[in-house]
Amino acid sequence: MSPDQKATIVSQLQSQILRLQGHRPLSQASLTNELGPLRDAFPGGSFPIGAVHEFLAGSAREHSAATTGFISALLPSLLKTSGTCIWIGPSKKIFPVALKNFMLNPDHFIFVKASKDKDILWAMEESLKCPAVNAVVCELKQLDFTASRRLQLAVEKSHVTGFVIRTNYKTVGTTGCVSRWQISTLPSQPIEDLSGVGFPRWRVELLKNRLGRLGAWDVYCKKGQFMATVDSEMLHVNEGIRKIG
């Protein structure tokens, strides 16, 4: 058997394993361009849709704004032109006008207000079950393994992508989510050496990843695309696929 044949067999087997693990690559390759440096973390360089992603945002509003900003930057490729996003949270927080700056259509967002974690989880699960929705974002305090597993089971049928933002959490714990992220703010990327506030820049840390590698990147978002900053260095890259949960 020639090395070429071996390579094709290996890649076929790898894609089979990924399918079994629930990784569903985006049909269009567009997101791979927009992901920029983040594409290294996922097999095939495509962001897993039809999965639930967990974000740790802490208690400060600045952190939460960075997290929602990062998710808003991911959403355009999920929603395309007419997709719908449901945003569930305990309070009115998002300013719809600002979503326009992220190449999103703010009138395709439906905001659901629920005060209790229990109600938020219920609304999240119901929304994730609905195939007419493209993405669901919710803000939660606590997420235990059972609840996250329920969410993951809901998306496996409907192929909806879910984002859980955890604010004010006491313990992080283990969850059934595909990945766990932490986004923190960095000084903005200047626009053509002009003074003043430039493109938003974040440190993106991928703390858990069931389907790919872990990593940390300094990226900024320009017109809906992630770009690596010049001085970005990979903080720690864990070679090989680690399985969690």
């Binding site: 509003r61 600045e62 939460s64 704004a65 960075a66 929602t68 900003g69 990062f70 808003s72 930057a73 007419s82 997709g83 719908t84 449901i86 009115k92 927080k93 998002i94 300013f95 719809p96 006008v97 600002a98 979503l99 326009k100 700056n101 992220f102 259509n105 703010p106 009138d107 395709h108 967002f109 439906i110 905001f111 659901v112 207000k113 629920a114 109600d119 219920w122 609304a123 119901e126 929304s127 609905c130 195939p131 007419a132 929705v133 703010t185 960095l186 000084p187 903005s188 003074s195 003043g196 506030v197 430039g198 938003p200 820049r201 974040w202 978002c221």
Partner: protein
Amino acid sequence: MQKRFVSVWFPHLATDWFTIRHPELSNKPFVLRTSSHGRLIVAAANPEAQAKGIANGSILADATAILPGLLVLDEHRGLHEKLLRRIAEWCIRFTPSVAVDLPSGLLLDCTGCTHLWGSEEQYVQDIVSKLTARGYHVRAALAGTIGAAWGTARFAKGTSVIPEGKHIDALMNLPPAALRLEPQPVERLHTLGLLRIKQFITMPRSTLRRRFGAHFIMRLDQALGYQVEFLDAVQSDEPYQERLPCMEPIVKAIGIEIALQQLLETLCLRLRKEQKGLRSAILQCYRVDGKIEKVSIGTSRPSHHVKHLFKLFEPKLSAIEPALGIELFLLDAVKVEAYSPEQENMWQNAGGLQDERLSELIDNLANKLGADAIRRYLPDEHHWPERSIRLAKSLQEKPATPWPSSRPRPLELLEVPIPIQVAAPIPDYPPMLFRYNGQVHNVAKANGPERIEQEWWLQDGEHRDYYRVEDEQGRRYWIFRLGHYNEKTNRWFLHGFFA
């Protein structure tokens, strides 16, 4: 097409109804009494009593004097109206547009219907024979105008069908009362010796108008066909309601579920046939002890989807307290809107906001969390940030104006701006540092000011000068100074967080 009308007259409507209800009254003279101006009068006398000389409207004491042992019954108030309405609804079999003609008649617009009975004579014959078979005394006439049909039915002898274009000739020999006049002009015509219509129809109209009034001319024109008259047709409005009586009182949850399922299936079948969908519904459960338990639902889009509607009811069923048992279930579709299946197919998998499954999800969420919890925003043409968005009225409402995108806006906006302490070097310059949440933030980069004026026609107040600032750690804020720079009072606020 030439219009054709049938006027049906029931000369003894009330007494006929009594005879139908109480067969023992047939062939016996009896009268219905009512009180008028403090004395009892005969409201209606049946044909047998009238044959003995008792007229409608005569004093009851006189009537009993004429015929000792006369049967006297109480009149039912509003009987004529109710009865005529019911007969009119029954008459839908003859023509789709039937009107009640108080006090004792019906009007049928039979244009284009008579050929189904063979001829106009057979049509009228069928109406008369069907109503006679039910026990009513009936006279009917068919003519080209409502007035001519009305007059012919009541005053003509023999002929009941006036051929097309002959209605003026038919009216000639009738008395003036056949024109549906008020009593005074009729009396005046009688005193003038004008006992037939032909005697005055050739008179100049201005003279007639001067002597008998505008109403007289209107009735004359209507009868002759110079003035169009419209029928106020009876619509049989069946409410969208389903009932399910139970043989045994229902006490278990499963029983209530089965009942609801059955009611929804029959209701939705009817809605589907009529291309309608319900927007809100109430389920009423009548308990054995006389109390009524109610639960209601609402949808964001007309729906006749049994499974979806059942899902909306499901979490509320536990609130029903059956106590000793429920004997009757009543499902009422309070609000029904037009909804066609073509649209359904188009929306089924349309994606986006038009998708049927999305509105079902929203109904589901609103049902549990309250309709107030679901919000969608549209742009409003205001620069003032709090007013730049408004709530969308429905899931499908499209923005009337494009979303503003020229100015950067914070992704997270505080509902109420938080006062902060700020050190600013020179007027109209971005601040050097500010204190928020007990922490000092040194401003590294800043943009601004962007002045947003208060809209004086909406609200009094000072303008805001907004700055986008970034501290040394890269945290980005939206802060503003209220009003002009002032040495003594500097009011600065934090209003939002950029991503």
